[in-house]
Amino acid sequence: MGPIGYSKNLMLSNKFILFYLILIFFCISFKNDKESYLTIPIGFPTPLIPSHNSLSEDRIKLGKKLFFDKILSRDSSISCASCHQPKYAFSDALKTPKGIKEREVLRNTPTLTNIGYNQSFLRDGVNPSLEAQVIVPIHEKNEFDFHILLVAERLKKRADYNDLFLKAYNSIPTPEFVTKAIASYERTLISGNSRFDQYYYQNSISSISISEKKGMDLFFNKFNCIHCHSGFNFSNGEVVNNGLYEKYKDIGKMRVTLDENDRGSFKVPTLRNIEITGPYMHDGSLKTLEEVVDHYSKGGNNNYNKHELIKPFEISSSEKNDLISFLKCLTDSSFIEDYL
């Protein structure tokens, strides 16, 4: 009896151990799945979510509402989405956008594609976090020309926002939670289902054409574009001078650092959705991808800060077509449709 009983107990305890192991597995999976609100494409890493602003459905929902609400601008005429329009992969197809009262903004609107993966923000990469960058357009005179404290006061007067903030952060609207909610929403703007992704990460070999494959080879090998436009997001995140001008009106990162070595330096942008995020460069001065390729093939303009790898290279018209075809296959139409 004893051994059998013991054996039964052992079996029972084994079942319990198995049950607990499964339970622990689920718990761990669930705990680690703080990004479950994000759809991480195959081949993409998990983005880092700051511990002080973990994601939740309510936070994303609130952030999305704020992102599209003109209430954040002083005269309630524009929202984040006025410049970061979903149909242009969260850019605006303009050389440079306009702020309230038609004020001229000096820099081209960058795409927010995969912005949650970035380590630095704004065109010159001087801003340290998604939360911190939310303040910039709100306070910029040529953009929203408002103040974050007054934004919070406006929101406090709205029952719908009071309810959303309570659900998301268990708080009334505050500057802190305005920035955190918008950052939460922006972290969901993940794009990784372009035809390139289907080919490269999802093993769908027919997803891209022969011309696009040739372009990919040129991009990765012959022209070494991958040196700066590297990784899953086609950007190494560095801030460099690409020789756009001999003399820069906008001195880029140097505006903050005052370091001559930073003159005319801007962040290497992602190339994802590049087809629909033109015009290009920090000032939107290049209208088409053809102009962009021409700029690089002639080695850019002379500038003492120009990145050492930007040198003239020969490119035939068919190679140029192939290269641009490849760039266009980085367009993720599902990303655009998802947010329309």
């Binding site: 001087v126 801003n127 303040i135 910039v136 103040h147 404290l149 006061e153 505050t174 500057p175 903050v256």
Partner: protein
């Protein structure tokens, strides 16, 4: 006798280890006179005046009670030219001997987001802003004003120096102090020679310099090199000629749609602040504010003329101001 000795010991224990409020009392001075905005002062032979003076202090260390040291962790002061008193905390201190601190904020705080703090915290969002949102970092010292660049003794050229960057942090060596004790409060009295922030800086062509420039670095370093902070106290209430001239309102129009009301009342009484429009309509009616401060109305006023009135029960001052939406 035993009971008496015990009583004496208890009394001594409590009196020697009483908790005291520690208040930093800054007497801002321009050419050794009491600080005022729009009032000319001379530095390096040039006439200037301030329209804004704000700076951060942090990293406080108090030496007290025979050489004991107390570090004030996470204590930040946002000082303004028109505000004297800054509460540092409640400590078990009987007598203060010296103080040391930094001008600016430490590297960790300087990497924070202003919105992580409430607006009444020194590091919280301010108007006019004490941070530059682009790189995210605090302005350690802000001086706005006008300088006389054509030598006619009338300052007419604007300048803005806003010092930004960790390298601007300037340590102030220990200053021996002569604290003033009042009931449960110890006042650390320092004279701030505010004119000296601009020493050695050619203001003629500065324009708006919000950066880590050499000029901004000089301005910050001056706080140590030019002995801007000195033990002492300027008691303007003893000046008989016109006491009321030390009560004033000064508007900051950095945000023309939401001006900030800087005010200074030479009184320890709390004050009431009222904003009315020209038809007498009341838009703001605040009670029991500190006698010196910067008030940013958290209300969107329509374009128009308004009147701010401040009273402390016995004296009243008022000023007209414009809002431009």
């Amino acid at each position: 006798m035993r009971f008496f000795t015990f009583f004496i010991m208890i009394f001594y224990f409590f009196s020697a280890n009483a908790q005291r409020n520690i208040v930093l009392r800054l007497s801002h001075a321009l050419n050794d006179s009491s600080f005022k905005y729009n009032e000319n002062f001379e530095i390096d032979g040039n006439k200037n005046y301030y329209t804004r003076l704000q700076y951060y202090l942090s990293g406080f260390e108090l030496i007290h009670d025979g050489g004991q040291s107390t570090s004030l962790i996470n204590t930040y002061v946002l000082a303004s030219g028109h505000i004297s008193n800054y509460y540092l905390g409640n400590f078990n201190i009987s007598s203060l001997e010296s103080i040391t601190f930094d001008v600016g904020v430490d590297q960790i705080a300087n990497s924070e987001n202003t919105t992580n703090f409430s607006s009444d915290h020194p590091l919280g969002p301010k108007s006019p802003p004490m941070d530059w949102g682009w790189p995210s970092g605090y302005f350690f010292v802000v001086t706005n004003g006008f300088t006389d660049s054509d030598n006619d003794d009338v300052p007419e050229t604007p300048f803005e120096l806003h010092a930004l960057g960790d390298q601007m942090l300037t340590h102030i060596d220990p200053i021996s102090i002569f604290p003033f004790n009042s009931n449960d409060t110890i006042y650390i009295d320092l004279i701030v020679h505010a004119d000296r922030f601009l020493s050695g800086i050619n203001l003629d062509s500065i324009g708006a310099d919000h950066s880590s420039s050499v000029n901004n670095l000089s301005m910050c370093n001056n706080s140590s090199a030019m002995n801007i902070f000195e033990a002492g106290y300027i008691d303007v209430t003893n000046i008989e000629d016109n006491k009321n001239s030390f009560n004033y309102i000064f508007l900051d129009y950095t945000l023309p749609f939401a001006p900030t009301i800087n005010y200074h009342f030479e009184s320890n009484n709390k004050i009431n602040l009222k904003i009315t429009d020209i038809n007498g309509g009341i838009h703001v009616n605040e009670k029991n504010l500190y006698s010196q401060g910067s008030y940013f109305p958290l209300i969107e006023l329509a374009t128009g003329i308004y009147i701010v009135t401040i009273d402390n029960g016995t004296n009243r001052i008022f000023k007209k101001f414009n809002v431009v939406q």
